[in-house]
């Protein structure tokens, strides 16, 4: 899916004390859960929406409370084609996670409860509405058996 070139992104750069490691890990896990992309081991990126802005703002405050420092920007890409490339990176990561669900659906004795939970988690990070997500949803619906809807 194409991202209009003028669409804004939110960028987070932070530094946090090495110890305690639990704090570092908690921040890392939150960034992962938000589905943020780490560019060049330096900058965490998300497409700017009211929700991502707010989540990054709260995270920046939390990093400060943990003894770290965080800077948060909203910005636009200035080079042609880079927005699409970035969207591609978000997409391919989400698609890989969706594909895992599809692969697991092929297995016998599949745990539909766990898979549907996984689907919900991936979908929360699917900022550009992958077509594969729709497919996974349909497969989960039909895999549940019982009466057809």
């Amino acid at each position: 899916m194409e991202q209009p070139p003028e669409a804004p992104w939110v960028l987070l750069v932070y530094k946090i004390p090495r110890e305690p490691t639990a704090s570092r890990a908690a921040v890392w896990r939150k960034l992962k859960r938000l589905g943020a992309l780490l560019l060049h081991d330096a900058v965490w990126v998300l497409p700017a929406t009211p929700w991502t802005r707010e989540q990054f703002q709260w995270l920046a405050v939390e990093i400060g409370e943990l003894g770290g420092e965080a800077h948060l920007w909203e910005s636009h890409l200035l080079l042609n084609g880079q927005a699409d490339a970035l969207v591609q990176q978000f997409q391919s990561r989400v698609d890989a996670a969706y594909q895992e669900i599809l692969d697991e659906l092929e297995q016998e004795d599949v745990d539909l409860v766990a898979l549907s939970r996984k689907y919900q988690q991936v979908r929360a990070q699917d900022y550009f509405h992958s077509a594969l997500g729709t497919h996974v949803r349909e497969r989960l619906m039909s895999a549940r058996g019982g009466f057809a809807s």
Binding site: R29, L34, R53, Q55, E62
Partner: protein
Amino acid sequence: MKWVTWEQVGVDRMACAWLITKYLDHEAEFLFVPAGQKPLPEGVEPFDIPGVRLSHHRGHCTFYTMLREYDLRDPVLQRIARVVDEADTVQDVMLEPAAAGLDVICQGIRLVSTDDRVALERGRLVYEALYAQFASEPTQA
């Protein structure tokens, strides 16, 4: 007393406004400023704005902070705080299935409301309902 928060209220701020009016300040008057606007109006208590006293702390939502700041220990309120935490912040552990639905409903309330004041007003019914339902169940903070 006057309370101020950012425009476009959602799940956490509706919860806070309900709590404020019901438990802290029956005459509460709410003001709304655009997100990020500084300085905030003088002589009003800001809430759910990054960096202020009544906002997210240590990964918890503002509603949770308010219970702590005002020493409200009702277990039903504590459970609502857990739900709002899961609805409004990134959590590793999810124990309250109502959270995701509550978030969507509160967003929708804002969409069908002409302004933030009306949205807070309507949000009150949602939290009254949640409180009543949780109060009727065995305690689980």
